[in-house]
């Protein structure tokens, strides 16, 4: 135990560099997946057949490819096509695209849960599609969507570790590098696990808060 604390004090600063990158990857891909997911979901509920079908097939293609393969593709294959991305860019792009499929399905479920009478009431006062979405549907859908959105945040935090496979020196990769050079596997990976857990706990509490609030209405 004493050894652990000693190692922890020594490795903590290096691992914190990893934490910083983990947070950058998580937030970056969270934002990207939210925007893309919203776009897919809007296309899906637009009532325009071509858009809705395009979105449905995109979602299925994205869902059918493992995140790690998507990352390899962006980082190792794209340069052959003339597009070179930094490891960090590829990680954010890959995770963002991969998760946009789940975000889209979550958003769509929330939008479709809104009572049809709400949309008719909006139309009956002359609102068009976009105004109906903005003023009537989305504000109500947010309440429904937030708890699963929180869960996606937790999953993304953990899945950001997959960025290590394309050399992004986030928390998991930093841990692996220290472990392989010091052979202190137990100390290092225990510390890494604790650091992920520490970041997850506030998110878990946030989800609980969302769930309580959604249950109120």
């Amino acid at each position: 135990m004493k050894g652990f604390w000693h190692d922890a004090a020594e490795f903590f600063p290096i691992l914190m560099n990893g934490v910083a990158l983990t947070i950058v990857v998580t937030i970056g891909s969270l934002l990207l997946s939210t925007v893309l997911g919203l776009v897919w979901a809007m296309m899906r509920v637009s009532g325009i057949k071509a858009l809705s079908m395009l979105s449905a097939s995109l979602i299925n293609v994205i869902r059918g490819i493992p995140i790690i393969v998507l990352l390899f593709y962006l980082y190792f294959v794209m340069p052959d096509l003339g597009v070179t991305l930094s490891a960090l860019q590829a990680a954010i792009l890959g995770l963002g695209i991969a998760y946009s499929a789940y975000q889209a399905e979550n958003f769509r479920a929330g939008i479709e849960a809104i009572d049809k009478g709400q949309i008719e009431a909006a139309q009956s006062i002359g609102m068009g599609w976009w105004l109906t979405m903005r003023r009537v549907v989305l504000p109500q859908a947010v309440r429904i969507v937030l708890p699963p959105y929180g869960n996606v945040m937790i999953m993304m935090l953990k899945d950001s570790s997959q960025a290590s496979t394309i050399t992004v020196a986030e928390l998991a990769l930093q841990g692996k590098l220290i472990a392989s050079s010091t052979f202190k596997n137990t100390s290092v990976f225990t510390l890494v696990a604790l650091m992920y857990l520490t970041m997850s706990i506030p998110l878990i509490l946030l989800v609980r808060h969302f769930e309580k609030r959604a249950g109120k209405r």
Binding site: Q123, S124, I125, Q140
Partner: protein
């Protein structure tokens, strides 16, 4: 003001409107009565384009109702609707519900709209509920807010789709009272209803619809007191004397 000419409408293979021809004049109160599934609500929903129709023509003040044309927004801002299940926006207060259309669709000045909104809530007897959210209101109060929301658009006509059918019996009177006052003030109203007393006392004309056609129409008192057609007589007997 509202004209329907040989309007047909099918849901899949079921033809619910089989050639409806009718008109509503300015300032007139027309009640549409008839059994469930006769197509009463569908007529209302076609008038403001919530539903499309297959054949014939509907026009409002000479403007053809086509739910896929941009002009539908124009028609909807002139013909408001009150729904059976209120359909208030639950995430907004009573006052916000009332001012939503004028502020965001008609883009009228905020201060003026808010003032009118409060006056309308007072008119339906809910001045003190301006800041309440719909779930905190009774059904009758919600429906009166919905009527204020319809009025806030300063419409030329209001369509009522069974406005009291979802209410507890003791709350029906408040809503009908507000509607009666509107009629007295000269509002053009088309009301789908099962409230025969309201139809007799308030309506200028009654249309009896059954099986997607207008079976009988005429001045409210004559249709309701001396129905000519056997189907009208049968319907009224069953509504007025259910036992």
């Amino acid at each position: 003001m509202i004209e329907l000419n040989d309007v047909h409408k099918s849901f899949g293979k079921v033809e619910v409107l089989k050639g409806i021809t009718a008109s509503v004049e300015k300032g007139e109160v027309v009640c549409i009565i008839g059994p469930s599934g006769s197509g009463k609500s569908t007529i209302l929903r076609c008038i403001n384009g919530l539903e499309s129709y297959d054949r014939g023509e509907i026009s409002v003040e000479g403007l053809k109702v086509d739910r896929d044309a941009p002009s539908i927004v124009n028609i909807r801002t002139q013909v408001s609707m009150v729904f059976q299940r209120f359909n208030l926006f639950p995430h907004r207060t009573a006052l916000e519900n009332v001012v939503e259309g004028p502020l965001f669709v008609k883009k009228e000045p905020r201060a003026q709209v808010l003032e009118r909104g409060r006056a309308l809530l007072a008119q339906v007897g809910l001045a003190e509920k301006a800041d309440a959210h719909p779930p905190q209101l009774s059904g009758g109060q919600q429906q009166r807010v919905a009527i204020a929301r319809a009025l806030a658009m300063q419409p030329k006509a209001i369509l009522f789709d069974e406005p009291t059918s979802a209410l507890d019996p003791e709350l029906v009177g408040d809503v009908l009272g507000v509607m009666r006052k509107l009629a007295d003030d000269g509002m053009t109203m088309v009301v789908v209803t099962h409230e025969m007393g309201f139809a007799r006392d308030v309506a200028d004309r009654v249309l009896f619809i059954d099986g997607g056609v207008i079976v009988e129409q005429g001045p409210a008192k004559s249709v309701l007191n001396q129905p000519q057609h056997a189907r009208t007589q049968d319907f009224l007997r069953r509504v007025l004397h259910p036992l």
